[in-house]
Amino acid sequence: MAEAKPHLNLAFIGHVDHGKSTTVGRMMFETGAVDPHVIDEYKKEASAKGKATFEFAWVMDSLKEERERGVTIDIAHQRFDTDKYYFTVVDCPGHRDFVKNMITGASQADAAVLIVAAPDGVMAQTREHVFLARTLGVNQLIVALNKMDATTPPYDEKRFNEVKEEVSKLLKMVGYKVDQVPFIPISAYEGDNLIKLSERTKWYKGSTLLAALNDLKLPEKPTKLPLRIPVQDVYTISGVGTVPVGRVETGIMKKNDKIVFQPAGVFGEVKSIEMHHEEVPEAYPGDNIGWNVRGVGKKDIRRGDVCGHPEKPPTVAKEFKAQIVVLQHPSAITAGYTPVFHCHTAQIACTITELLAKLDPRTGAVKEQNPTFIKAGDAAIVMVTPSKPMVIENVKEIPQLGRFAIRDMGLTIAAGMCMDVTPR
């Protein structure tokens, strides 16, 4: 039974036009996830045109049409199965303005496949996506160096090693253990090294993309971390009482638990928990729930508050240290800049009070201490003071509540993670 297989959320990341969609489509096709009638149609068309060769672009187009035709709310991701796992796959948009959605979105990727076109090497979005993957807490990474058929000469080992070196530097900078990351030379278009090792890369001694996907580890749900449920909305329901709704990020909440909402500083007790209109005795990470609270009024708490247990309450920051990457900004960012930080369900104006260091995007080393400004493309360590009480956690302790997007002028200016918090 396919449903009995363990499930992994997989994100395909990388620069636009480096072949993410083609690789996803190819994996769907090769693993048998493409509807058989699409293949039949294709065969008919191919034979009518007298073509013996495989036109993969045709399958890609048909796949897209198929998805758009189906009226399903699950259209934003695709699915394919290997013999070990079933994967839901998100092909990440390239435009920076979607970064905010990736940070605050619901489906946390368990692993990512970084696609880099071998002829081009590391490009701007490659850097951004690698940083984002790290920010989002994606610890398992596979690097596929695509378009090996288009290197000069084709399937060139030397070019593969050059780009591998370039990508390795980038990964080391953000803290990935490069010796644990597979680098696979592929051609999504030709199908090399996806399911079967290719005759055209005899110099390559590693595994296929499929095998690398099967080697991924199933991550543990963050049930052992302290309870954190960012409040999305709060309701008063007649006959029930106060009901906040939100998604459990970490920990477990049980009926009758004593709880606290921060920064509101309000204490209460869980009377009951419901999910999909059914009462559940406890709620786990990923669950979208409403919970009925005794001792808390609707006006006492609001969106952006975080629910936790009183013995390990959510941290309210007086200030925090963060590592950010500036994605876009019309001029330069200096100390005193006050954009809006989007962190879990909170949106709070915060002042960047100090620029502590600018980092070299190639090596990760400190390039400049106390720079006077940072601009698009820079990574930096900064100090931040929220304009009003805000819950944020050290990314090393509770990663789910340690990341944020910085927005200003309708743009996503930067993405970042909290490295240290000074509590209020």
């Binding site: 259209i75 999305q232 329901i237 999910m275 729930i289 969106r303």
Partner: protein
């Protein structure tokens, strides 16, 4: 440039809000570069229901900002949260 599917969770102001009416109004506020793909009611808790709204737009500047803001302004809507974005 590809197309991006955006899945949003739209919450009503209260349990009494007529979701069918909100659905209708959502159709009227979709920006011109966006098309509505699906809207579904999803039970949450204690009789509360969310509307799951899926729209398709280009992988372009601006992202989901206008769409979120337009839906957020519909009377009876409490909040709009983008749950998932993915290229088609």
């Amino acid at each position: 440039m590809g197309d991006v599917a955006v899945r949003m969770r739209v919450m009503p102001e209260s349990i009494e809000v007529d979701l069918a009416q909100i659905k209708e109004k959502i159709r009227g506020v979709i920006p011109p570069y966006t098309r509505l793909h699906a809207v579904e009611e999803m039970p949450v808790a204690f009789g509360l229901k969310a509307l799951i709204v899926v729209a398709i737009m280009g992988d372009r500047a601006g992202g989901t900002e206008e769409l979120e803001s337009n839906i957020g302004k519909i009377p009876g809507v409490e909040s709009v949260v983008v749950e998932e974005v993915g290229l088609l």
